[in-house]
Amino acid sequence: MSLEPTEFMSKMVSRTGFSADDKKILQDTAAWGLEIAPEMADYFYDYMGRDAEMSAILNESEGRIHRLRETFVSWFHEMFTGMDSWGGDYADRRWRIGLIHVRIGIGPQHVVPAMAVVVHEAGKRAQADGKDQQLCDALSKICMVDLAFIEQAYIEVSSAAVLRETGWSESLFKRLVATGAAAM
């Protein structure tokens, strides 16, 4: 059960309807994206920091929050540039970011609402700066694609650990999850 980032990216792009027009509008406003990225990082980490559990994780080691903030700024900007036009490099980086979230313990339950805050605040800023609604829609779509990577990283890492330690096949594991869910 190992995720292939490019394939996953392609599925998510298709499922969210992230189009060539979305890519173009994001690339055309990449400079604006970089300009507002630090402000969005503030919203993201301010929101996360309000939760005691998250605050402890974010400030666990010296300089962690600073490094995470820097990563956020790059990540946010990359949603506009698309790196290699939202290809393999983009997908690999999103997968690695997902794995970092798993490693340091920032789960979907924290990232999902924090990402919603970013989408909301970016939308407000876009409106204030007279940007087109299509930009907000495109940004929302690519945010959801990136969020899917983070959520999937949790599933993949957890499943891989269970399969490795138990020797279960992937289909047996899925069957156990399905029968377990049916019994809940």
């Binding site: 330690e165 138990t166 020797g167 279960w168 096949s169 289909s171 047996l172 069957r175 156990l176 029968t179 019994a183």
Partner: protein, 123 residues
Amino acid sequence: MAISTEKLTHILQSFVTSTTDIQGAAVVTPDGLPLAASLPGGMDEERVSAMSAAMLSLGDRIGSELARGGIDRIYVEGDKGYGILTSCGEDAVFLVLADKAAKQGLLLLEIKRTLSDLKAVLM
């Protein structure tokens, strides 16, 4: 040659009805899919199959990790009886449910006999 589920079911039914203190039996795939079963009423065949495959697979893993070699069978002993899981070749797992009063030697002998019948059908 196609596997005959009728033959598998017949072997299981005959094993369950003719062996003293046996309450049920099932043959499942290593992925946890039922091949044939003769289980007590109220037991969900799908769940029993998934659980059986999971246990044998985990037992194999434990055997390997704790340097116990290949695992022949797994016993679950409760105050109401036994659950015995035996590998039935590479493609199946044999589950036997026995009453607490079952005689161990007889039980193992019957399992061994039935295993060879099952393997013949599964080959």
